[in-house]
Structures are given as structure tokens and as C-alpha cells.
């Protein structure tokens, strides 16, 4: 008897909670709530709609979307974020999630019809953790995913999100494997091959006929992906190829000596900035001064505590974002980011920020309301992103468009590091 009473009480509470949640949504949702509150746990109001998309709600007619719907977008959308916020790669996740949070706060402060609720989960850049984080977010009613930040995690999460039909836009997972075969997965950053090709054509234009060396991390999909496309473009101009792995990224004496011995005048470094720092240090110590060209992972090299900026003098970085740009958007973003974290934002932060705004614009374009099911939201957003007429201008580029394969099209920008800041060449 006691048990039955407790059950009854719990049920009543669950119903009450669901009903409360329903008020902030809109029409039709109370009916849903009644249907599945028994099986669903009380807290997840927004899942109510998802579990129930068979039921004909007012919105079912607008699933075809294509930008020309007349419905006005609105409601509170639950955004989820996944990225490493502890562990070795924490700076990437923290940056991207902080960037996203800034965008969310700005949009909410506008007080418009569209409001966001953002929850970021830590995955330590480990694929298994990312799936757990994803499930946590899903349990909390996530409707749209901003993430995952790192490639390995994102590949794992993308297939889950594809099965669940949750729209996902990753700030920074750049491998083509992330989007391959998943129509709901989009990228804010360049794909690795595109970056390699862009790097190669930049070198062919500006350093024509020079000998090129490349050092890459061959146990890392990001580094190898860029390298392979780069090599495909450069061909015989490459005089030396050196590799390293996470186990050997503290000593580059051999690779740098060999590049020097091969007479390379340009050294292409498709890698993150920590190994690049070691390479620059060693090259300086043996008096080797070619033109080093870094990729977007090189961004952040100047923010390292105690880093001697003269090491990076003259290094070319091909990155879509620079914190030293002087346009209004960048300046206000940089100021806000510095207020929050006390350091300059890197490209990951800008990507996170752009993700939220791109989603915001797409929600407006599609006229999505927050009481639609995840599948409806997902299909509507895919429709907008791949429509060809949707373009977004933000911190990391102007006139960005997306193809059906989820890859973004934007122009890379080359910066030269001079006196510790990025300047346009």
C-alpha cells in the first residue's frame, strides 16, 4: 500500500513537472506530455515531443521546411556541447565551449523569440567519454548539438546523433570521417584535406620553386589528413618528410637536422602548437631559419605561458581566425572572452561562437519552434544548411556555405607572426 502511494505521488509530481514545462513551449505539447509521462521520467519535458513524433501535432505539416515556411521561429532550444574540458586537450574544449556560451548569452540577452539553454559536457577528448556525455545531454533533452570538439570524439558522437536524428554542428572536428555518411553532421572548420590543399596552393603561389619539408604526426588523423592532401598537391617539391607520434613529440633534433640537411627553405607543420614549439626551439638552437608554415592547430602558440615570441617570428599561420583582427565583431568577442577566461581566444573559441550563431540564423530561416521533435528540427536545419542560399558570416569567415556532405566552404587566411601578434602578409 505504501509503495502504491509513493508511486502515485511520484506520478503526480512527474505530471505536474511535465505540465509546467509544457507551458513554456506551446500548443499541443500538453497532450504529448499526458501520453508519455508514465514511461518517461518527469524532468525531460522536451523529450516528450521527440518520443511522440508520430502523434499529429500542429507542427507536423511544416517538416518539409526549405526556408519558405511562414511559421515564426521561437521557443527555448536546448543546445548541448561536448568537448575536452579537462585532460591534455582541455584548452580546445574550454575555448570552444566558452565561445559557444558567449554566443548563447548574447542571443538570450537580445530577448527575442529564440532563446537557448546551453549545457556543455566534458569528454577529455576520449571517444567513449564523448558518447557518455552525449547520452547525458540527450537525457537532459538536448535538441541540437554543438560538438564534439575533437575529431575522434566527434566521429563516435556523430553516428549516435545520426541514429537519433539530432542535428550536429562541430566547431573544430575537421576530419572528413566526421561527416562521411551522416547527413545531419556539419562542420564549422575546414576539413583536413581542404586545409592541406589550401596550404599547398599558398606555397605554390608565394614560394614557387622552393624546396619544401614537411613534418607531421602520423598517429593523428588530423595531422595525417592534412599531410596527405598537401603531399598530393605538392608532389616532388617535398624534399624531406619527417614523422613523429605522441610518444616521440618531445624531441625533434633528428627531423629538424634532416630537413636542414635536405636544404628545405619552407617547412610545413601540419600539427598542434606544442610539438611545433619544440621544433621552433630546436631549429633556432642550430641556427636553421626556413619559413615555417603552420595550420590552424598552430593557433594558440603565442598564448603559452613563458613562450618566447621571438621563436615564432616570421612563422606563417593559415588560420581562419585571428584575435588581433580589428573588425567590430572580433574586437567585442575578444573583449568578452578575455573578461571570462583572462586570455585571448583562439580559433576554437571563435568556431564555437560561430556554431551557435549559424544555428541561430538557420533556426530563423527555417522557422523552427522549440516544441518540434528532434527529427523535425534536424530535417529542417539540414534543409537550410544545404539549401545553397543560406550563408553565414561570422568570426571565422564571411559568406560561409555548406555542401550536402557537411563540409564548409570558406577562404583560409594567412597570417604572419610579427612581434608576437598576427598580421596579414
Amino acid at each position: 500500500m505504501k509503495k502504491f502511494l509513493a508511486l502515485l505521488l511520484a506520478l503526480t509530481m512527474a505530471l505536474a513537472l511535465v505540465a509546467c514545462g509544457g507551458n513554456s513551449g506551446n500548443s499541443g505539447s500538453t497532450g504529448n506530455a499526458g501520453n508519455n509521462s508514465a514511461s518517461d521520467n518527469g524532468g525531460s519535458t522536451d523529450n516528450g515531443g521527440a518520443a511522440n513524433n508520430g502523434a499529429s501535432t500542429n507542427n507536423s505539416g511544416s517538416t518539409d521546411n526549405s526556408g519558405d515556411t511562414t511559421a515564426t521561429a521561437g521557443g527555448t532550444f536546448k543546445l548541448g556541447g561536448i568537448g575536452p574540458m579537462t585532460g591534455e586537450n582541455a584548452q580546445y574544449g574550454l575555448a570552444a565551449m566558452t565561445g559557444a556560451q558567449i554566443a548563447v548569452d548574447e542571443i538570450n540577452a537580445l530577448g527575442g523569440d529564440i532563446q537557448f539553454e546551453f549545457q556543455a559536457e566534458d569528454d577529455q577528448a576520449v571517444a567513449d567519454n564523448a558518447v557518455n556525455a552525449y547520452n547525458t545531454l540527450k537525457d537532459n533533452g538536448m535538441q541540437i548539438l554543438v560538438g564534439a570538439v575533437t575529431t575522434g570524439s566527434c566521429i563516435a558522437v556523430a553516428s549516435e546523433a545520426n541514429t537519433d536524428r539530432i542535428f550536429a554542428l562541430t566547431p573544430s572536428a575537421s576530419s572528413t570521417d566526421v561527416t562521411a555518411g551522416k547527413d545531419n553532421m556539419f562542420q564549422m572548420c575546414f576539413t583536413d584535406p581542404n586545409q592541406g590543399i589550401a596550404g599547398a596552393s599558398y606555397i605554390q603561389e608565394n614560394f614557387d620553386g622552393k624546396k619544401v619539408a614537411v613534418i607531421y604526426k602520423n598517429d593523428d588523423a588530423y595531422s595525417t589528413g592534412i599531410y596527405e592532401a598537401f603531399k598530393g598537391e605538392m608532389g616532388d617539391a617535398i624534399v624531406y618528410e619527417g614523422t613523429f607520434t605522441s610518444d616521440t613529440q618531445t624531441d625533434f633534433s633528428v627531423q629538424v637536422t634532416a630537413a636542414k640537411d635536405a636544404g628545405a627553405e619552407v617547412v610545413y607543420l601540419p600539427m598542434y602548437y606544442q610539438p611545433a614549439t619544440v621544433i621552433l626551439t630546436y631549429a633556432k638552437s642550430i641556427g636553421y631559419a626556413p619559413t615555417f608554415i603552420g595550420v590552424d592547430g598552430m593557433d594558440g602558440i603565442l598564448d603559452q605561458e613563458g613562450f618566447d615570441a621571438s621563436l615564432a617570428e616570421g612563422v606563417l599561420v593559415m588560420s581562419p581566425f585571428s584575435a588581433s583582427a580589428t573588425d567590430d565583431l572580433t574586437v567585442s568577442f575578444v573583449t568578452e572572452y578575455e573578461n571570462r577566461l583572462g586570455q585571448l581566444p583562439n580559433q576554437f573559441a571563435a568556431d564555437g561562437y560561430d556554431c551557435v550563431y549559424a544555428i541561430y540564423n538557420a533556426i530563423q530561416a527555417a522557422g523552427i519552434t522549440s516544441d518540434m521533435s528532434n527529427e523535425e528540427i534536424c530535417d529542417a536545419l539540414i534543409g537550410v544548411f544545404t539549401s545553397g542560399s543560406f550563408s553565414y558570416t561570422g568570426l571565422t569567415g564571411s559568406g560561409m556555405t555548406w555542401g550536402t556532405n557537411g563540409e564548409v566552404t570558406k577562404l583560409p587566411m594567412a597570417f604572419i607572426i610579427q612581434d608576437g601578434i598576427y598580421v596579414k602578409p
Binding site: 579537462t86 585532460g87 591534455e88 586537450n89 582541455a90 584548452q91 602520423n218 619527417g242 614523422t243 613523429f244 607520434t245 610518444d247 616521440t248 618531445t250 624531441d251 633534433s253 633528428v254 627531423q255 637536422t257 634532416a258 640537411d261 606544442q274 614549439t277 619544440v278 626551439t281 638552437s285 642550430i286 641556427g287 598564448d303 603559452q304 605561458e305 613563458g306 613562450f307 618566447d308
Partner: protein, 292 residues
């Protein structure tokens, strides 16, 4: 010409391995345990020196001494808290505890210092002759080699010619008998940890001077390599650790340069396997018959 560049970078790297390996081998020789947290004590040493130089503005030599003191205390505390209670337990239990301590230190460092890399300014830098510098022989490398040789000589003398050294050797041979002879075994083992950790601090400072990025996992890979070096040279033998470290560094550098950067580590370990097949106790290890 280029060959010498490769050789020098191998020797520089090898000297660092050697100093770390000396710490491993000391502790193994006396306490008969593998202290897998040794690599992380190195990392702590690097951070302490970094903080003292950057935040407190102390001169390099004072910073090194401070970092040695902190590491010594840390080593003794780790030994007292984590290993001493397990003195009678099986060696496997101690091994697992050591791995636990290693993770604890890494995560604690991450909490205290964060994950963004700190860039270490080399503690020594004096101009090298132009030709030598171009061949990759930096001032840090020279200092590392000299330090390594000095440490090895001092340690060998200490172990062979002092009373405490004698106590250490006695503990190493037979703990029970040593105790009956009036040697305080626990204190001797603590002393060993203190010396090993002080060496780790020096190794940390030199490692960070050589490869400037300092992160909480800085010590783990060099720690494993140095452990390999200690086994290579014959674990428990002080000159063995020195030779093992140097050889390991040179083999690694030459394999990277002339065979493949991909296969370098595989080659290093293949050489280790061959050596252990021919001499199961390592290059200079003593063969101790098992009494039944």
C-alpha cells in the same frame, strides 16, 4: 658531418635518459621495486623550478636547489604513505600502487598548474662555438652530459665507499640479515627514495631545458624510456643505467635518421629484446642465483 649531428642529438637525449635511469635503478637496486611514479616526480621538479624562476624570480641555481628539496620531500612522503605500508605485500601490489601514485601526481599537477603548456626557459645557456652549435650540440646538451657523468661518479663512490652506501648494499642483498646487523632498513629505503627524487628534480630541470614544453604528462614518456634504459644496462647497476641511457638515445637518434622516424621506437625495443635474449640481466647486470 650530418652523422655527427645525429650522434650528438642522440647523446644529448641519451644523457637525459641516463639521469632518469639512475633514479630508477637506485630505487630498484635497494628497495627491489619499480617506482613508476619516478617520471612524474621529474615533472613536478620541472614545474617547481619553472614556478620559482618565473613567479618568484629566483636565479636558476636557487630554483634548481629548491626543486631538489621539494622533490626529495615529495619522494620521501610518497614512500612513507604509499609504499611503506606495503613492505610485506607482494611486488605486484607495490607496482600497481606506483602506477596509482603516477596518475595521482599527473592529475594533481593538472589541478594546480592547468593543462596549457608552460614554456620553460633553459636554466643554462652560454654561447657555443658556431660549428658545434650548427651540429646540434647545444649548451644544455653539454651541461646535461657533464652533469650525468658527475652524478654517476658521485653515486658510485657514495654506494661503494660510505657507511650509508654500505647499508644500502646490505639492504639490497638481504633485508632480513641487514636488519639483524643493526641497519635501519626503513630509513635506508627512505634515504634511497630521497636520493632518487633529488636526481629526478635535476633530470626534470634538464629535460625541460632540452624540450621546452612543460605539461602534466611531460615526465611519463621519458620515464618509460629511462626505465627501458635501466633494464637495458642491467637494472640495479649504476654504470649500467648510464650506459643504457646513452645507448638508447644514440640508437633512437640513428634509427630515426637512417631507417625511419616511424620505426625508431620499434627498433629501440627490438635492440632491447636482442640484448635481453643474449644477456638476460642486461649489459652490466649481475646474475643472482635464486636460492631455493
Amino acid at each position: 658531418m650530418v652523422f655527427f649531428s645525429y650522434l650528438f642529438s642522440g647523446i644529448s637525449l641519451g644523457s637525459i635518459y641516463a639521469i632518469i635511469a639512475l633514479g630508477y635503478t637506485m630505487v630498484y637496486g635497494i628497495a627491489k621495486m619499480l617506482n613508476f611514479a619516478h617520471g612524474d616526480v621529474i615533472m613536478v621538479g620541472g614545474y617547481i623550478c619553472y614556478c620559482s624562476m618565473t613567479y618568484l624570480g629566483l636565479p636558476a641555481i636557487v630554483s634548481i636547489l629548491l626543486s631538489m628539496v621539494v622533490c626529495t620531500v615529495l619522494g620521501v612522503v610518497i614512500e612513507g604513505l604509499a609504499y611503506k605500508p606495503l613492505r610485506q605485500a607482494g611486488s605486484l601490489a607495490v607496482l600497481i600502487t606506483a602506477i596509482g601514485v603516477s596518475y595521482f601526481l599527473q592529475n594533481a599537477a593538472q589541478l594546480i598548474w592547468g593543462v596549457t603548456p608552460k614554456i620553460f626557459t633553459p636554466v643554462v645557456s652560454f654561447p657555443m662555438p658556431e660549428g658545434l652549435a650548427a651540429m646540434g650540440l647545444s649548451s644544455v646538451a653539454v651541461v646535461t652530459m657533464v652533469t650525468c657523468v658527475v652524478i654517476m661518479i658521485v653515486l658510485t663512490t657514495f654506494v661503494n665507499h660510505t657507511k650509508l652506501g654500505k647499508a644500502m648494499r646490505a639492504c639490497s642483498e638481504d633485508k632480513g640479515a641487514a636488519q639483524l646487523m643493526g641497519i635501519n632498513v626503513n630509513r635506508t629505503i627512505s634515504l634511497t627514495f630521497a636520493i632518487g627524487s633529488a636526481l629526478a628534480a635535476i633530470a626534470g630541470v634538464l629535460l625541460c631545458s632540452y624540450t621546452p614544453t612543460l605539461i602534466p604528462t611531460t615526465g611519463s614518456m621519458p620515464g618509460i624510456k629511462a626505465f627501458t634504459a635501466a633494464v637495458f644496462g642491467g637494472i640495479g647497476s649504476i654504470p649500467g643505467a648510464f650506459i643504457g641511457g646513452l645507448l638508447l638515445g644514440i640508437i633512437e637518434a640513428l634509427a630515426k635518421a637512417y631507417v625511419s622516424t616511424n620505426l625508431a621506437n620499434a627498433i629501440v625495443f627490438a635492440v632491447l629484446i636482442v640484448v635481453l635474449l643474449v644477456r638476460p640481466t642486461g649489459l652490466l647486470g649481475k646474475y643472482v642465483p635464486e636460492k631455493v
